[in-house]
Amino acid sequence: MRLLNFMHRNSKVDRERVHSSQNEGIQPRQSQVSNLSPITRRRIQRFKSIKRGYYSLWILAFAIYLSFFAELLMNSRALAVRFEGAWYFPTFHFYSGRAFGEDYESEANYRELKKKFEVSGHNYVLLPPIPYNPYENDFALQGNPPYAPDSRHLLGTDSSGRDVLVRLFYGFRIAIIFAILLTVSGYFIGTVIGAVMGYFGGWVDLLTQRAIEIWSTMPFLYLCIIIASIFEPTFMILLGILLLFSWINMTYYIRTEVYREKAKDYAVAAKSMGAGHLRIIMRHLLPNSLVPLVSYFPFSVVGGIYSLTALDFLGYGLPPPTPSWGDLLNQGLENAMNAPWITAATFTALVVTLLLITFIGEAVREAFDPRQFSRYK
């Protein structure tokens, strides 16, 4: 019988906490990356050693980075046009057809221009890798949309003739920004309320707990639907609606953490030296109570994407024609027989994205978990 990796759980937890509080006293400013406390450095090290999560983080970060350049990668506007000796860069600028010697006032059709210039030879159009934008209805094909995947639309089009791949990519950017904003702002509110509950305790705690219990029993998707049917939901309004509920979970964790931290010697010492409530909470308690924020972050992002997609799916989310995964899923369901590629592509994009975030989340949780399980064999 061998003892593997045995470390008593509670003593480990306590040592960690003492460490972090001591460091706080010695080095009050630890904003520089190189000045990270040893415990944070060890956690990052542990996260890096969990390959599945670490590589997922890189892949996801790269995808988000790429999505910020969506207008350069997937757009109907050309990246650059060389016309009669002058250069034009239409990505963020409107040029009518006349600017390039065409006879229409509407926006220049760069795909047609490219074909034309290739025949004539001396002018030049550089198109993005995928020359379609997410709002464009491509009816130039035979028959009615949705069109099946081909060389023109790699993942086919939706029922209005819009490129599925392009809409998925723009939809990814919207969903991920939405979910991250939702999580950050929800955590901010949750941390403030949780810290107040944990720090003051007593009646404040009891009353807020009751209120939160009521608020959290409200069926949240129902309320979202009701509110979304009154206001025409925009990105910010939808964010606000979901924010009404997304802060709740974090209060539980922060409340418990602050409750535990405030009983420790360093907090009592700060109080006896005359530090005010705000200073104790902000400078002493919160920095030692933020582990749940980091370790639940990825899972909350998953939840944010889930909620946005579900609301879009039901038609109570972002207004059309915003590119959205929920809308695409709904179209896939409506065109179950004649356009299975919509469902297949959207499902894959959604699940792969959520899976990457889940892998990251699992690795972060493991890296931040002070518990080390011993094994007897």
Binding site: E213, T217, Y222, I226, F313, L350, R371, Y376
Partner: protein, 343 residues
């Protein structure tokens, strides 16, 4: 113990009142209620009537006069301030009367009872399915921590966690039901259910209809329950009482299955109560996709069509189930863990 339960039950009332007051207030300010619906319907009908040739019977058309509207407003009780309406509703609730649906003019309780069996069927089966798979799987994963088996099932489980049920439902409906034609497209039973020749044909019909929705229902729960079970077994495996058991010469097998396992079921007991309301209320997304006429779909359509008595009725039942579930969880924990004492 008894006083604890009584106190918890008493504490439910303020919560229930809080929830229903908020919902009641929301219904007051939402446009599109029954009166608005009557108005727009009457408007459409007068438009149609005036265009019809020879529509001379002006007095017979469906235009609502202001008096008619007032009668309707009074009929729905909207002429009173909201707190009077709320008080009336609460008094009726005290007599277990949830009022009448605005849409069907049948009692809400009858409506809910008629949808309940479908939801209970799905809830119970996914409940059993989840626990029967997750408990053994979690134990096995804990015993073989960091083995190939553990890593492989972890990937599967995370894939399950990352798959929203309604997205999986859509995928299954599009490919397995529509294209491969292996399963029916939706509904609880076939249209010709009544005329199916044998009992077993009927059973097969129900099962056949429920396989895809059940997969979609359960996919999200597998992950969290299995991880919960695994972590809890892991924690107990490293605890002092297992070490003691091993030191006394008990076999590894015996130490795990008689000592660690029993204690690992405690967190599962906690989630047991919380899951009750989830399973009974169903998921309206999945019920909508598969066109299953259960509680979830009833709640969803009543929200969309502003059938407030039904919305409130479902809300009350859901809230009670949640609160009772929480209480049951705590009691389960106390039953499983003698260290827990109520104060």
């Amino acid at each position: 113990m008894r006083s604890y339960i009584i106190r918890r039950i008493l504490l439910m009332f303020p919560t229930l009142i809080g929830i229903t007051v908020i919902t009641f207030l929301v219904t007051q300010f939402v446009p599109g209620g029954p009166i608005d619906q009557l108005r727009s319907r009457a408007f459409v009908q007068t438009e149609g009537g005036s265009q019809a040739p020879g529509g001379g019977l002006k007095s017979m058309d469906n235009q609502l006069s202001e008096e008619d509207l007032k009668v309707m407003v009074a009929f729905y009780g909207f002429d009173k301030p909201w707190y009077v309406q709320y008080g009336r509703w609460l008094l009726r609730l005290a007599r277990f009367d949830l009022g009448e649906s605005f849409r069907y003019f049948t009692p809400v309780s009858e409506l809910i009872v008629s949808k309940l069996p479908v939801s209970i069927y799905y809830g119970l089966i996914s409940f059993i399915l989840v626990y029967f798979v997750c408990v053994p799987l979690g134990v096995l994963k804990a015993i073989r921590h960091k083995s190939i088996f553990d890593n492989l099932t972890s990937v599967l489980i995370f894939a399950g966690y990352a798959t929203p049920g309604f997205a999986l439902g859509t995928l299954l409906l599009v490919f397995v039901a529509s294209h491969m034609d292996l399963f029916p497209l939706g509904g609880f039973v076939s249209d010709d259910f009544e005329f199916l020749p044998t009992f077993w044909a009927k059973v097969w019909d129900v099962v056949h209809h429920s396989i895809l929705p059940l997969i979609s229902y359960a996919v999200g729960y597998f992950a969290s329950m299995t991880i919960l079970m695994k972590n809890s077994v892991m924690e107990n495996m490293s605890s002092d009482f297992v070490r003691t058991a091993l030191a006394k010469g008990s076999s590894y097998h015996r130490a795990i299955f008689t000592h660690a396992l029993r204690n690992s079921l405690i967190p599962l007991a906690t989630s047991f109560g919380n899951n009750i309301s989830l399973f009974l209320m169903g998921s309206f997304l999945i019920e909508k996709i598969f066109n299953i006429d259960g509680m979830g779909l009833l709640g969803y359509t009543s929200i969309v069509e502003r059938d407030y008595p039904v919305v409130l009725g479902i809300l009350v039942i859901g809230a009670i189930l949640t609160l009772v579930g929480n209480l049951l969880s705590d009691l389960c924990v106390a039953a499983a863990d003698p260290r827990v004492r109520f104060s």
